[in-house]
């Protein structure tokens, strides 16, 4: 207990220091507005990657419609702030609740399906959500929903990203997370050991969906404009790529994947015309190469955690041995 407390305090201090430093750098203009934008995008993408990793990496369900839940959160929260004048935080929380509810509605029937069938159903659900939004005039249909107020600032993003990370960490390091992993490895065995496999999967799915919706809310109040096409299959695969590239089942991997794949395309802007013209080509080749040479992703299924860093210098720990990371 005491040890945990001490570790917790160290972590809080580090997080606060990082925040103060970042704030300072922004104020002094050392981190410019452009970099700040990228950091905010990174934060949103981290939350998305974390949420999808919970579903894919822990419950073992291949979900291909994650952007749809993001859309639910984005639209619902935007309606609350823009049309019903609710304050920001309650609105995005309501968005997350709506995302969780949508996750329950779709997860409840389809989580009984297996593998590829589940994948295609989530994909289908993603398309359905998109088409439905395209048909709702109240939110601008295909023309998009504009006039959303800017609420998502660096401070909020920082806070929510850290909270999301802690939340995910704590979920996966609890009996619930272990149940999810057990189910993903061998559903029959897990059931025989007393795990309600369906409930474990559904719980992971709902948390993941709610968190994606939360990220959607942040996204909407940052961009101030949302349109259905932004939440299509491409967006879902983009999030999926963060997760796979970071290492399926690795929470810190998801963070790494989201950071790298958000910053990389921006970084490529700095190069010459050739790279600019063939940016997407280069990007896809890089993913193929990365997958071939490191199919387990950047982190594999390992975790980077504070205690490892402190104890053994820069070595990673095998996941089984880790207790908890930042949280």
């Amino acid at each position: 207990m005491q040890k945990n407390m001490k570790k917790g305090i160290i972590k809080i201090v580090i997080v606060v220091l990082v925040f103060i430093l970042a704030k300072f750098l922004i104020r002094e203009g050392i981190i410019g507005a452009y970099t700040e934008r990228i950091i905010i995008t990174v934060g949103i993408n981290i939350i998305l990657a974390l949420s999808l990793n919970l579903i894919i990496g822990y419950t073992g369900q291949l979900a291909l419609g994650h952007a749809a839940f993001m859309a639910v959160g984005a639209y619902v929260s935007a309606i609350f702030t823009t049309k019903l004048n609710l304050p920001f935080v309650p609105a995005i929380i309501l968005g997350a609740v709506a995302g969780g509810a949508a996750g329950f509605l779709i997860g409840w029937p389809i989580l009984r399906l297996k593998g590829d069938y589940l994948a295609i159903c989530t994909l289908g659900f993603g398309e359905i959500v998109k088409v439905l939004i395209q048909n709702i005039e109240y939110v601008g249909a295909a023309r998009g929903f504009s006039g959303i107020k800017l609420f998502t600032t660096f401070g909020w993003i920082f806070l929510f990203t850290v909270l999301a990370y802690i939340l995910i960490k704590r979920v996966v390091n609890s009996v619930y997370g272990r149940d999810m992993r057990a189910v993903s490895q061998d559903e029959i065995a897990a059931e025989a050991m007393g795990v309600n496999a369906f409930r474990a999967k559904l719980l992971g799915f709902i948390i993941g969906c709610a968190m994606a919706a939360f990220a959607g809310g942040l996204y909407a109040h940052y961009l101030m404009f949302i349109d259905p096409v932004s939440f299509d299959f491409n967006k879902s695969t983009e999030i999926l790529t963060f997760v796979v590239l970071g290492g399926i089942g690795s929470t810190s991997g998801s963070v790494a994947g989201a950071v790298i794949l958000t910053v990389l395309p921006e970084a490529l802007r700095g190069f010459g015309d050739f790279i600019k013209t063939y940016r997407m080509l280069i990007y896809s080749i890089m993913i193929v190469i990365l997958m071939i040479f490191r199919p387990q992703g950047i982190m594999g299924n390992r975790e980077l955690s504070l205690q490892n860093l402190m104890k053994k210098g820069n070595t990673f720990n095998i996941k089984g041995g880790e207790k908890d990371g930042i949280a």
């Binding site: 203009g29 249909a141 295909a142 023309r143 949302i226 349109d227 997407m280």
Partner: protein, 375 residues
């Protein structure tokens, strides 16, 4: 953050910046070079480039050479503002051209206004672009309601069409926006829309919708999508035996319309920003120099409007006599300029007041038909 930035910008590196400023004037351009509409991006990029090159050849702006920096927004609303922010914060541009499509221009506008950088979008026709973008956002094209009205009036008055079928891309903001604008004006004018059908991006079979439309036997079939899809629809419509006259908007403006649609396009009408067979000096010059600069490529409406947008911005800077943004915006507001697509002045919502041109397809070629003046 931006105030502090300007402060450090002027104090810390005032000297170097002054030197840099002394050499060139930097303008940023946000174009969809990759993503789902790279063809538009290429036209836009060429248009901007040609305008800048032309200006530079004539001595530049304020006696300095203009440097244009292109950034790709992938036609994604989430990318456009980031890219604009980069141009403003990192490249220190004095004005931004773009974005090409409304869905990108809408979220990008507020960024420009916040940073007090004038923005001129060449082809974003959605009303909201300037409304929500704020005082620094301008455009070079007419807006959807105007084009819709122009088309509706043309259909009623010139074609004598009493019934119309509308077929649009429900997943595309432009296509849907224009279709709605048309329907509103058309029904307001006392005519009726007998069929309203839609499809989604990427589809290529329209037989189901067209069979329904055929049933209603409309006088005209309005298709508000881009040329490649329209060509395909037109073909299928004629094959199915639909005899209605085809009508569309600026998205049709490409030589590929006929290469895909073939004979089916014959006799169709569409509104554009300028007619490519216009023999006025401005148009001929533009077309020639475009072809010369880009391996004989034919300029389309996107290229022309992008060229215009760049000209409007550079002209405003010249008139302001400084790159100071407030002055430039003032100059933009009082624009009174002849460009390729006609004569431009701005209304109080920073939308250009200019006519729409109606073209028709004759012998497989686009031909000027008539001009519809703004009311």
């Amino acid at each position: 953050g931006s105030a502090a930035e300007t402060a450090t910008g002027t104090t810390a590196s005032a000297a170097t910046e002054a030197a840099a400023e002394g050499e060139t004037i930097k303008i940023g351009a946000v174009v969809p070079l990759t993503g789902d509409v790279p063809a538009l991006g290429e036209s836009a990029k060429n248009g901007y480039q040609l305008a800048v090159d032309t200006m530079n050849a004539n001595g530049g702006v304020l006696g300095k050479q203009v440097e244009i920096i292109f950034e790709d927004d992938e036609n994604q609303p989430s990318k456009a503002p980031t890219v604009a922010q980069k141009l403003i914060a990192q490249d220190k541009v004095v004005g931004i051209l773009g974005a090409t499509n409304s869905k990108c221009s809408i979220p990008m506008g507020p960024i420009c206004t916040q940073n007090k950088i004038p923005m001129v979008s060449p082809t974003s026709t959605n009303t909201k672009v300037t409304v929500e973008g704020g005082d620094y956002v301008f455009r070079a094209c007419f807006i959807d309601p105007f084009q819709g009205e122009a088309l509706a009036n043309f259909a009623k008055d010139e074609l004598g069409a009493q019934t119309a079928a509308v077929l649009y891309n429900m997943a595309d903001d432009y296509s849907k926006g224009l279709a709605e604008a048309f329907m509103e004006s058309y029904t307001a004018a006392g005519c009726s829309v007998v069929a309203e059908e839609s499809y989604s991006t990427g589809e290529s079979d329209f037989n189901a919708q067209l069979t329904n439309i055929k049933n209603e036997n409309p006088d005209i079939l309005v298709m508000t999508d881009f040329y490649s899809t329209v060509g395909l629809i037109a073909k299928q419509a004629r094959t199915l035996g639909i005899e209605a006259t085809f009508l569309g908007g600026d998205g049709w403006d490409s030589t590929d319309l006929v290469s895909i649609g073939g004979d089916a396009m014959e006799g169709a009408y569409y509104s554009v920003f300028y007619a490519s067979d216009d023999t006025s000096e401005a148009v001929v010059n533009f077309k020639n120099s475009y072809a010369e600069a880009f391996d004989g490529k034919e300029a389309d409406g996107y290229a022309a409007l992008s060229y215009d947008a760049a000209m409007i911005l550079m002209n405003a800077i010249e008139n302001a006599g400084t790159t100071d943004s407030e002055k430039v915006v003032e100059a933009l507001n009082s624009t009174d300029l002849d460009v390729v697509s006609g004569h431009v002045t701005y209304d109080e919502s920073r939308n250009p007041i200019k006519p729409a041109i109606i073209c028709t397809i004759k012998d497989g070629k686009a031909a000027y038909y008539t001009t519809v003046e703004p009311k």
